[in-house]
């Protein structure tokens, strides 16, 4: 496509989209005005109906839980697609341990970096768990906590190097985490149907308002999302790092790698 055609296409798209965008922007309430009516209603209803303090969780995992289920599978599909792309001809059989790249230098790390990562890694993981578990009482939840947990595993990589990281993290565990999380979420929708309730109806006891165990099924769904996100993001890192490495020939096992 020549640059001229591109500019023409852009102008055409702008002609179609801009009037609509202008209309919507003109219809918005003025910036900084009081909270929208829908939000005010949600704030009035959910604490009594679902016993949770975090309204965003209540909407994402209960009132509009079906949307989140769809997003969950979007994430699963995106990560699966990326992994398939990155693995390429390497295939599946070679993901058990760190792959060796001939001639690749092992970058020495200063002891300060190793120490900082050994202290910060577990603390980050702990904070991730905290965010996941407090999904119904504080801002945050499964997705945010899952990403923080995945950053925790990345700190292990920064401190210990690639070989050490791969010793601790197995690709098929990540697959199981990712798929298992999505499965757990889907089961949260299907299991209530066994009891005669609707899909994703909250059948667990709701608990007390502002308690850690409030919201019933929301906590389980958050756990599913956290597992899937932790597994998925770590899997992405792993595949990006593995991508440029050649698979070892099977007859020379256990060699140091960069």
């Amino acid at each position: 496509m020549s640059p001229r055609v591109r500019v023409a296409l852009l102008a055409l798209a702008g002609l179609v989209l801009l009037p609509g965008a202008a209309e919507v922007i003109a219809g918005l309430p003025p910036f900084g005005s009081t909270i929208a009516q829908y939000g005010a209603r949600i704030n009035a209803i959910t604490p009594e109906a679902r016993h949770v303090a975090n309204m965003v969780s209540a909407i994402n995992f209960d009132l509009r839980g079906l949307d989140t289920l769809g997003e969950e599978f979007m994430l699963l599909a995106a990560i699966t697609g990326t992994v398939v792309l990155l693995r390429g001809r390497r295939g599946e059989g070679t993901t058990g341990r760190a792959m060796r790249r001939p001639g690749r230098a092992v970058i020495p790390r200063s002891e300060a970096v190793v120490l900082a990562c050994r202290i910060a890694g577990p603390l980050t993981a702990l904070f991730g768990l905290y965010v996941v578990l407090h999904a119904t009482v504080t801002p945050g939840g499964g997705f945010q906590g899952g990403v923080i947990l995945a950053s925790g595993t990345l700190l292990i990589y920064l401190g210990e190097g690639y070989a050490g990281w791969r010793d601790a993290i197995r690709s098929h565990w990540l697959d199981a985490l990712e798929g298992g999380g999505a499965l757990l979420f889907a089961l949260c929708g299907l299991v209530p149907m066994l009891t005669g309730a609707a899909f994703m109806q909250n059948i667990l006891p709701l608990g007390t308002f502002r308690d850690l165990f409030s919201g019933g099924l929301m906590l389980v769904e958050n756990l599913g999302v956290a597992l899937a996100v932790t597994g998925g993001f770590t899997q992405l890192f792993l595949e990006f790092m593995e991508e440029t490495r050649e698979a070892d020939a099977p007859e020379e096992p256990g060699e140091e790698s960069a």
């Binding site: 001639g103 690749r104 990403v147 950053s151 992405l236 991508e243 440029t244 960069a258």
Partner: protein, 83 residues
């Protein structure tokens, strides 16, 4: 609040422009991280702590790390082995 919001919008614009203008990929990664941090503060100031936490975790930690790792992997590739 009247001073903070315009200031944050200005910072967002500056850091976003910086991401576009910085041409060196390694520096661009840090520009993206800074932009994510500014956006996280902006979302928090606009009373959306959930979104701020997501932005902080994804925009200023996970995505830059992913880019850094990809860059490292590309640079480690010796050119004579490409075939």
């Amino acid at each position: 609040m009247t001073v903070i919001l315009p200031l944050l919008f200005l910072l967002t614009a500056i850091s976003g422009t910086a991401v576009v203008l910085v041409r060196d990929p390694a520096r661009q990664v840090f520009a993206i991280a800074v932009n994510g941090l500014v956006l996280a503060i902006l979302f928090d100031a606009l009373q959306a702590p959930d979104v701020a936490l997501s932005e902080l975790a994804v925009g200023s930690a996970a995505v830059p790390l992913l880019f850094l790792v990809a860059l490292m992997a590309v640079r480690a590739q010796p050119p004579e082995e490409e075939s």
